[in-house]
Amino acid sequence: MIETPTLWIVMLSIGIGSYLMRFIFIGVIGDRPLPGWILRHLRYTGVAVLPALVAPLVLWPEATGGDPDPARMISAFLTLAVGVLTRNVLLAILAGGGSLYAGLALLG
């Protein structure tokens, strides 16, 4: 269970930090152009950090005590496949959720 003070420290820090990141250029730096190398790295933050976060969760799910789980892996694969093919986030989530429940029901 998450401790209440920890939760509030995390929420406040991320809230304030995110606001500052939203404000920094528009509010502080103004019209000055940004060095290309910074923008080039910023472009890839989401596409790098999110997969890094999700990979161990898919391979070693906590719910099974860290043992690889076929139902969860198939579901992850289908989520990715539907997402890549349709470019539709919602469809991908539905495919992932649907296949997870189907997989859990069939594979137990």
Partner: protein
């Protein structure tokens, strides 16, 4: 063509922002569900959504808190996920940078995926818009998007309290992340960044305090930037 009124520009923004509600409602509601499963109250879940206003960062922080990762790691990882907000801010600056400071301070809160994407596209199309119209459009897009984000978290949090544990919600976060990642894989550089991040994350999973995620995320960012440079150079050579 006569310049449109400020009011019509605002509604133009509302129309462009409205379709995103369909995606935001389930996404934000899911955050509410997962948050209550993790032990947050409805009020705490709503506060989270109001303060951070970015689904991926919210899910990331929550996931790490549930895993008992150190506070600092949860904060740094979520902020790393939100670094793209700085990029949006930079992209909007040429358009909104000349507005009064208080307006920029208010607008900054509403810098999210949707306001950024719609605004930058429309500003390029309508170069004759003055500052009033640009801001009207920006807030027009935010008007349907942001309240629905807040509200759906509350609905999800209420529902979450009623959902039994057997629903395997532990996997809701991975599925959601995978689904958000796919539309981001637009170029070979994006794909390379994601692949390197995955591999590095699995290799460095042994590191304590979930630090492997940050190492892998950093490696992915550098990879993306380098591949982009490489491809651009190759393009230059072939055009010569």
């Amino acid at each position: 063509m006569p310049s449109p009124t400020t009011k019509s520009v605002f509604w133009h923004g509302v129309r462009d922002g409205a379709p995103f509600i369909l995606v935001l409602i389930p996404f934000s509601a899911l955050f509410g569900v997962v948050a209550t499963e993790a032990g947050l109250s409805v009020f705490e879940a709503l506060t989270f959504s109001m303060m951070v206003l970015a689904g991926a960062a919210q899910f990331a922080a929550l996931q790490l808190l549930v895993e008992d990762a150190p506070t600092l790691i949860a904060i740094v990882t979520a902020l790393a996920v939100n670094l793209r907000m700085a990029m949006y801010s930079a992209a909007l600056t040429p358009h909104l940078g000349a507005a009064p400071l208080w307006q920029r301070a208010v607008a900054a809160y509403f810098v999210v995926d949707q306001t950024y994407a719609c605004s930058v596209a429309e500003y390029e199309k309508n170069r004759d818009w003055d500052m009033t119209r640009k801001l009207a459009y920006f807030f027009g897009v935010a008007a349907p998007v942001v309240p629905f984000w807040w509200g759906s978290t509350v609905v999800g949090a209420w529902l979450g309290a009623a959902i039994p544990d057997s629903l395997a919600l532990d996997f809701a976060v991975p599925i959601t992340f995978l689904a958000i990642i796919t539309p981001m894989l637009r170029t070979p550089a994006h794909v390379a960044a994601a692949i390197v991040a995955v591999v590095m994350s699995l290799i460095f999973a042994f590191l304590p305090y979930s630090m492997g995620i940050l190492v892998a995320g950093f490696a992915g960012m550098v990879t993306g930037a380098q591949v982009e440079l490489l491809l651009a150079r190759r393009q230059e050579v072939s055009e010569r």
